[in-house]
């Protein structure tokens, strides 16, 4: 074997006992400070297993652009500053109901391939006991009139696109989405 070969390490599960290690900071549920620009929202994300049972030992991580569609990262080289009152990254453990709720703003649209614009979306990583590698998905908003033009959604079979849409939940008074790791309404996960 060539000793100079560098290969990315394999993933392993977070296991059930990660809380004291990487989800100790409740501030990571707030991506936006009150002065952040844009439409402030609460977003409830719930993890469900193949039986529809809540997953009480999972982690949800969010990564998103600010309300103008700017990512706070050097690879976003477009000539404007990201909103200093907005963090872009969130991380929470799920509770006994399988859910966690973030405070954020609706992200602006960001460019995709070949000059196309992507619809407003939040990038998501899901970790849990029983997940040997993390799952990647996106959250879109079901009232967004541009969804039909989104170049990534168009790669998803039409019948499964709804699994990626958050909706306004009157019961919780916030935006809400269920991520089904398995089962009839299994969420679309991405091969990145």
């Amino acid at each position: 074997m060539n000793p100079q070969r560098f290969v990315a390490l394999p993933s392993q599960t977070v296991g059930p006992f990660f809380h004291f290690g990487i989800t100790t900071d409740p501030d990571l549920g707030d991506l936006a400070t009150p002065s952040a620009q844009g439409e402030h929202i609460e977003l409830r994300v719930r993890l469900l297993d193949g039986d529809g049972a809540p997953i009480p030992d999972g982690i949800v991580e969010l990564w998103q652009a600010d309300s103008t569609g700017k990512y706070a990262h050097p690879n976003d080289t477009r000539d404007r500053e990201p909103d200093p009152a907005f963090r872009g990254f969130g991380r929470l453990a799920t509770g006994d109901d399988g859910a966690c709720t973030f405070s954020t703003v609706r992200p602006g649209r960001v460019p995709g391939e070949h000059g196309a614009w992507q619809s407003s979306h939040i990038n998501v990583c899901v970790f849990a006991r029983g997940l040997l590698g993390h799952l990647c998905t996106r959250i879109y908003f079901d009232d967004d009139p541009t969804l039909a033009e989104d170049p990534v959604l168009s790669l998803v079979p039409a019948g499964r696109r709804a699994t990626l849409l958050a909706h306004r939940d009157e019961g919780y008074g916030c935006w809400s989405i269920d991520l089904h790791l398995q089962g009839e309404s299994e969420t679309v996960f991405f091969d990145l």
Partner: protein
């Protein structure tokens, strides 16, 4: 510009791996949908020095007294798939104590907690990609996956790397652990060469005389430089 080739078959775990029972109702049944790498995937959270305390990387110094167990130093470099260092990236670790018990309300393994050991640490890599965690060698512990199931000693690692595509949560194992061949979590990785990459190496140069043994664990994250050949494909 960096590119992020997808892993070779067998180098990552098989998500549905019934020998690890929790995968049976949690691993997706459908194939993931392949999408291109846009600005959303090529960016990711950036963490700065201000987030870290001075002793965050030393798990033996988080309480007033010394923790029990075998003191060790776990250190290595974070690299990309060209072998180039990844500087200033966040590395988080968590682990059981020397008796194999986690500081966690749902861990009811009847082994003692250590009042002087929490078992969580974090560090930013330096400009050459180096990280270092003085800690205690974790114990093996039983779990209920199957009759007489024991996890090999391990330390959980979480890394972000330069973008959303480089996120990695994994586990580091110790050399010559007799439980490794019996562990369905590590054995969920089909390729033996890939499993071996998660096993640290004893390294005399990392030991500290009269103080601690040393284990080296280099961490390769996705990503390498594009070559003209690949740009044409």
């Amino acid at each position: 510009m960096k590119i992020y080739p997808r892993p070779e078959p067998g180098d990552q775990p098989t998500l549905f791996h019934p020998a690890y029972q929790s995968t049976i109702r949690r691993a997706p049944a459908l194939a993931p949908v392949r999408i291109p790498h846009t600005l959303s995937e090529l960016t990711g959270p950036v963490f700065g020095d201000h987030a870290l305390g001075e002793t965050d990387n030393d798990l033996t110094r988080h309480h007033s007294g010394d923790p029990l167990g075998e003191r060790i130093v776990v250190a290595g470099r974070v690299l990309d798939e060209d072998g180039r260092p990844i500087p200033h990236t966040l590395v988080e670790v968590w682990q059981a104590n020397a008796a194999g018990r986690y500081r966690h309300s749902r861990d009811n393994h009847p082994a003692p907690l250590d009042p002087n050991f929490t078992g969580a640490g974090r560090a930013l890599t330096d400009e050459n990609g180096n990280y270092r965690f003085p800690t205690i060698k974790p114990g093996a512990y039983p779990w209920r996956n199957h009759h007489n199931a024991w996890r090999p000693a391990h330390i959980h690692f979480s890394l972000f790397g330069p973008c959303f595509l480089t996120r990695l949560v994994t586990q580091m194992y110790f050399p010559d652990d007799p439980l490794i061949p019996h562990d369905p979590i590590l054995q969920s990785i089909p390729n033996e060469s890939a499993r071996r990459r998660l096993v640290s190496h004893f390294d005399l140069s990392l030991t500290e005389p009269e103080w601690a043994l040393g284990y080296r664990f280099d961490i390769v994250l996705r990503g390498r430089d594009a070559t003209p050949f690949e740009d044409q494909r």
